[in-house]
């Protein structure tokens, strides 16, 4: 059996009276590219933030790379890359300064990879972050997330707000990464046609609850539907209620 790079056990989050994430349990096998799907407001970002220990869960636990996400947070962060939905960087720093600043936190820093990514995205290293477009800032954030050679990469809606070409670059980069042995990617999205191109596993949530989880192949084989059709079937009927 493939070990899990990420295990979420009975995770819940309550904001006042509203239950944003409800008893969520799923696993992401090591070496897989897992898409985390759900409609807007379904609790994807909340879940990812809890996984990254940026938010306290009301209940449940998260295991990352075999370690407890809360207890071993600092140790884990050198093995995990994370890019939030709209990443915020220190806008007074130049790209070069930000890369150096970030590199110093990591025990192993893959500068050639960061350089390669920045070159590929054609980012001017002497520009201040505040002068970059949102898309370029997201690319810099991705380059930084990959700089630590993460075993697990967690991306929250990485393609949102990016134009088609940039989005393509993004996804290509992810694919390249997983070609290296043992890397795992979990990314949330609601753009199903793109997901299908790169992901091999999928977790679908709706209103904070798990709807589907498993490999895309199996899902298609069982249901005989495309991913998009499966998603609509899983999420759609509730909308009509």
């Amino acid at each position: 059996m493939t070990p899990h790079a990420l295990s979420v056990e009975a995770l819940s989050k309550r904001f006042g009276h509203r239950l944003a994430v409800d008893n969520l349990t799923f696993h992401v096998p090591a070496g897989s590219v897992c898409a985390f799907l759900g409609r807007n407001g379904s609790g994807k970002s909340t879940t990812l933030r809890m996984i990254m220990n940026l938010l306290d869960p009301s209940a449940g636990a998260v295991t990352l790379l075999g370690l407890d996400s809360r207890r071993d947070h600092t140790a884990l962060m050198s093995r995990i890359g994370y890019v939030s939905e709209s990443p915020v960087l220190y806008d007074w720093m130049k790209v070069r300064q930000l890369v150096r600043f970030t590199a110093q936190f990591y025990p192993h820093w893959n500068q050639p990879r960061v350089d390669e990514l920045l070159d590929r995205f054609a980012v001017d290293r002497e520009q201040k972050i505040r002068h970059l477009s949102r898309g370029t800032q997201a690319q810099v954030a991705l380059a930084l997330a990959l700089g630590g050679d993460p075993e697990l990469l967690i991306l929250d809606e990485p393609a949102t707000g990016l134009d088609v070409l940039v989005r393509r670059d993004f996804l290509q980069t992810i694919i390249q990464l997983i070609q290296q042995e043992g890397r795992t990617v979990l990314f949330s999205s609601h753009l199903l046609h793109e997901v299908e191109r790169v992901a091999d596993h999928v977790v679908i949530i709706d209103r904070g609850r798990l709807v589907q989880a498993g490999s895309i192949e199996e899902l298609k084989r069982h249901s005989g539907l495309s991913l998009e059709e499966s998603f609509v079937e899983a999420v759609g009927p509730k909308e009509r209620q």
């Binding site: 150096r100 936190f105 630590g148």
Partner: protein, 599 residues
């Protein structure tokens, strides 16, 4: 930690730049005499702590909260660096900048050394130097900085953190002022953040021991509160107070402060006056004083006296009013220039006379002026003490031509029968003020104790017509500025007390051998120039009445609050079983005499 330090120092750079610009500009403006010397004094006593507080709060307020608001905190939290390291590196960078800014803030107080015309400033500069004041102030504001950093962890906006810290600071300051008044004898003044009138902070700066101990406690508090910030951020990085939580916290802080202030204000048993008498002083009177003997209280003004009978304290009655035309009882340093013995008032004053005004001792009873002892023409720079009446003799301390003497008068013959030189005024340094003020005299049994500029003298009255010096102790000075300022005396049991100024302390002497008082230590004492003792207990004006206390071992113990619900006591005197307190003028200019029964 290094990259974080670099980033934090970059974030705090505007503060550093502003600090340098403001300090250098002010220094230049002072050097070019744009400000007058009082600016430096105001800066030291009022502005410096205020600016230091703003700097401490401003530096820390945004350090976490702003990063949370702009979401750059997330950037750090998903790196392999723990929340405590983030907090401690912010603290380290902030502390570095705070140290530099505080150095600038304190240095301004010592700018332009020739500004020495201001007494308060001279006092501070005489007592402490830059290094001492800096050493005592930095830990205090370091703690305030740490506290604000903690507030910064609690909220999501720098302005909220600063507001919360400001609420805490203002509340604490108000509470400190309340406690400062409510705990007049505690070492509380050494822990204040501000330079107060009695110089608690200066005292703390002056003494290496106090400086070290208060500095250590404030530093430990700064480190502890930062450790709490680190633990809090680690435990739940995104849990912070919303607006309601913030408002509730502020209300809670104010509530706790109010409750503790209220508890402190009501910690003493309150005694109500047994009786009160209200009167309207003469409109042209400069001075109103009070004397008492058993159930008789006498209010004396420049040209009149009122005799009040408190035999039935609930219904005091004015038994007589005596006018003394052309008299003035007060022409130096205030203080009671009168004594009451066997129902007769002995009043030192001067009478308008041609060609020159005369100094006289008047003896007045309810029946009127019965006798006068002439003391000679009025001359400038001659000061009289309170007359002390003992049997057939009257003793009077006189400072004239810088010589302090005790004169003895025979009441019957109205003649001076003895003169005893006690002291010659010798300012301890050329820079010292040439303050020459009346002597303070206290009689206890067969001895008089006289506080003169240079000595505390015990005078033996074994032979009443020829008082003799039994012993003299040099008067230690808290500051050369205090030389010559009268030191009021009082006593309790075997102790003699002396109020010293700059800063106010209550010096204690042991009177086991009444001829030879032995210095036995100082008490912290402030905001009171007046003290009176029955022998068993001591009294001083306090809040809107009188505080009853006693000295015990090494401390002063407050016993009762004699509350008059009044404008506060301006003078108090003891007579028989009563403490009589003369109130400050009421709104309608009337004044009251309240008689409190001594337990």
């Amino acid at each position: 930690m290094r990259p974080l330090l670099w980033k934090e120092l970059h974030d705090l750079r505007p503060w550093l730049l502003a600090g340098v610009v403001v300090t250098v500009s002010l220094e230049l403006l002072l050097a070019t005499r744009v400000f007058n010397p009082s600016f430096v004094s105001t800066w030291m006593e009022a502005l410096m702590p205020f600016v230091a507080a703003i700097v401490s709060i401003g530096l820390a307020g945004g350090q976490i909260a702003r990063e949370r608001h702009t979401r750059t905190l997330d950037f750090l939290l998903v790196r392999p660096v723990s929340a405590p390291v983030i907090v401690w590196s912010k603290f380290a960078a902030g502390s570095f900048v705070l140290t530099l800014l505080m150095a600038g803030v304190v240095a301004l107080g010592f700018a332009v050394p020739e500004f020495t015309s201001d007494i308060g400033l001279r006092f501070i500069r005489e007592q402490v130097g830059f290094r001492q004041l800096f050493a005592v102030m930095l830990p205090r504001f370091w703690f305030l900085y740490g506290l604000t950093l903690f507030c910064s962890v609690l909220v999501d906006r720098s302005v909220k953190a600063a507001a919360l810290a400001a609420v805490v600071v203002c509340t604490t300051a108000i509470l400190a002022i309340a406690f400062y008044d409510l705990a007049p004898f505690s070492g509380f003044v050494y822990w204040l953040l501000f330079i107060d009138g009695s110089g608690g902070l200066i005292e703390a700066a002056k003494s290496p021991w106090l400086s070290a101990i208060t500095g250590l406690v404030f530093s430990l508090a700064a480190l502890s509160v930062t450790a709490a910030s680190a633990a809090l951020l680690k435990r739940s990085p995104e849990r912070y107070l919303g607006n309601l939580g913030l408002a509730l916290s502020a209300v809670a802080v104010i509530g706790v402060a109010y409750a503790s202030g209220y508890a402190a204000a009501h910690r003493l048993p309150v005694l109500a006056p047994a009786g009160s008498f209200t009167f309207h002083p003469q409109p042209d009177s400069n001075y109103v004083g009070i004397l008492a003997e058993r159930n008789l209280a006498v209010i004396f003004e420049d040209q009149s006296l009122r005799f009040l009978d408190f035999t039935q304290p609930s219904r005091p009655a004015q038994v007589a009013a005596v006018n003394l035309p052309l008299w003035t009882s007060s022409w130096d340093w205030g203080g009671p220039k009168a004594a009451l013995q066997d129902g007769a008032v002995l009043l030192a004053g001067h009478r308008k006379h041609l060609p020159v005004d005369e100094v006289e001792l008047a003896i007045v009873t309810p029946a009127g002026l019965i006798d006068e002892i002439p003391l000679g023409p009025v001359r400038p720079n001659v000061y009289l003490s309170t007359p002390i009446s003992a049997g057939p003799f009257v003793y009077l301390g006189v400072t004239s031509d810088r010589v302090c003497s005790l004169l003895t008068y025979d009441r019957a013959s109205k003649r001076q029968v003895a003169s005893l030189e006690l002291d010659r005024v010798r300012p301890p340094s050329s820079g010292a003020n040439a303050v020459v003020a009346p002597l303070r005299i206290l009689r206890r049994g067969a001895y008089l104790y006289v506080a003169s500029p240079s000595y505390l003298t015990a005078v033996d009255l074994a032979e009443p017509s020829r008082p003799a010096i039994a012993s003299q102790l040099p008067a230690p000075l808290n500051s050369v500025l205090a030389y010559g300022i009268p030191r009021q005396l009082s006593w309790q049991d075997n102790r003699l007390f002396e109020i010293r100024l700059f800063p106010e302390t209550l010096a204690s002497y042991n009177l086991r051998d009444p001829a030879r008082p032995l210095a036995s230590g100082d008490f912290i004492y402030h905001r009171a120039m007046t003290i009176n003792g029955t022998g068993r207990l001591l009294y001083r004006p306090w809040r809107s009445g009188v505080l009853e206390f006693r000295a015990q071992d090494d401390g002063l113990e407050a016993l009762h609050y004699l509350r008059a619900d009044d404008a506060g006591a301006s003078a108090l005197v003891l007579g028989g079983e009563f403490v009589y307190a003369l109130s400050a003028p009421h709104r309608d200019q009337s004044r009251s005499v309240h008689a409190f029964r001594v337990r």
